[in-house]
Amino acid sequence: MSSLTYRLLGVLLLGAVLALSTDAFLTVGNLLNVLRQASLIFLLASGLTLVILSAGLDLSIGANLGLSACMAAAAIKSTGSISIGIAAGLACGMTIGIANGLLITTLRLPPFIATYGMLWMVYGINYWAMAGNTIYGFPESFREIGSGYLLGIPIPVLLMAACLIVGSVFTRYTTWGHEIYAIGANPEVARLSGIPVRSRLIMVYTLSGVMSGLAGIVYLARLNSAEAGIGEPLLLPAIAAVLIGGTSLFGGVGSLSGALVGAVILTLVLNGMNLLTISGNWQPLITGVILLLAAGIDTAARNWNESRA
């Protein structure tokens, strides 16, 4: 069995427990609901996966989501054009990503520091520009990106699927993808074997920025409003989704499908607690226990698999 199969064990076990405890869980409506909720975290986590595969880190993704959403919001409000809004959001995300890449490759700042500094700058700019205000009320056709359906499937879920497929093909079957793994495993060896480490790293942070921008647009379309601080609560869950999905913080090991598993586990915990109407006093404790259990099952299964090999 592949390591992903073991990771799915956690999801399946959690799903089985929920299915046995409430009838509302195992319905097509609720499962699509869970996937739609997971999409936002996944979009952020997918770009971050590439960064972490290269043994880097991007702490600016939450702040980036916030600024991109506000930029897209401002652009739609002032031009009335949805495509300009989307372009503004993606361009904002990309710019922040490129800046991260340059800070890390040119100034040789550690990724943690570079992107942590970027986090503050991006929040700072956004807080100043928004001055505590909210931009809200967007055209129905734009909001379809967040709340619409195509062939019965929520559009954010389709976007997530598209990113998963494209991203998986990119990381598994293209030279660039392989190079990211190689850089993460050992940047020195990667450099000596002729991989253009610098430009690949810039690419990785740029992609992470673009994905944050995309997540910002989906957020905006889903919530119909943007304010400066919206990305703050999404940063840690996105990092957690990547790591729960088995991607190593040390680089070189992991996958995008793992990030999906991680995002779904995080979403299932909230979904389950709401369906079972667990009191707010207990929710943080239960979240912690379930996350540790999911990670524990994964580690145990992997150890068992390796001891047999």
Binding site: A129, A131, R222, T267, N271, L275, P284
Partner: protein, 332 residues
Amino acid sequence: MNIFIQNVRSTTAVVLMIFTASCAKPVDEGAGQTGGESIAVFTKNQTNPFFETVRLGAKNAAKQMNATVIQYIPTVQDSITEQLSEIEDAIIKRPGAVVFIPVNSRAMIPGIEKLNAANIPVVNITDRVLGGSVISFMGCDETNMALNTGRFLLQRLNGRGNVIILEGVGGSENSSNRVTGYRKALAEFPNVKLLASQPANFQRVQALQVTENLLQSYPQIDGILAANDSMALGAIEALDAARRNAFVVGLNGTKEAIDAIKAGKLLASGDCDGFRHGCLGTMAAVRHLRNLPVPKEFIFSVMVIDNTNYAGLDVPYEERMCPSWESVVKDK
């Protein structure tokens, strides 16, 4: 109006500040005025529009009274450590008086004690600090605000139906007072069933998700009582996407909430008016410095904003003027 673009154009000085400072720097908003008292205003964060209205009220009152205002805002929202270090900064700068909203009612007691030790008078507004000594507390009874707003929704349901409560941050005093208020209202209507009371941390996106989840398990939800407007608006997005209908109320009376009331999406929002907190708190501080009387405690009246009475509030805060002290604070 495009606030974003306006602000981008407004000034570059703040950008420089962002580049040079990683922690909060006071913003001097009274530049150009001299001779007036300087009042340091402490709010909780830059994200919640409520506190922006408090700051605008403070600025407006200071202008009316020919005083100046210095704003202290934590860069990490509601950060206890940051607000404490801002107090230390302020003590060095020695403002005439402080208008203070604690990020946490208990954790800020040492901060108030430091201001007391430095002999800087403190007017506590909005949320009560549970220690130290202050000239005045001017705030709102949050339980009562939620009780009135909850009652309004339950009356609209004719006293029957299924409702849910969206709670704020677990363990926070705001959230527990507001939820207590909603539960008191529910106790008056025995035929209304509370299906679930779940936390969404005052956040819009979480309220959206929690409501989506609850819509999955309950086929009939008639009312949603949210502990702030952001959550109420998140819940409305969830209802819209699921093509379901329910009466929704929030708290704080934000501009966005008033627009949603106008559009018929939000039933009502309970409001204690942050603008007035900023106005009256600053006025009280200046009055104290000018040896004018200030009540030891003042509780603002609560208003439930709905589609019959929003008109007077539907004005940009930038254009609003502080009410006169005498019109609000009646001598006993």
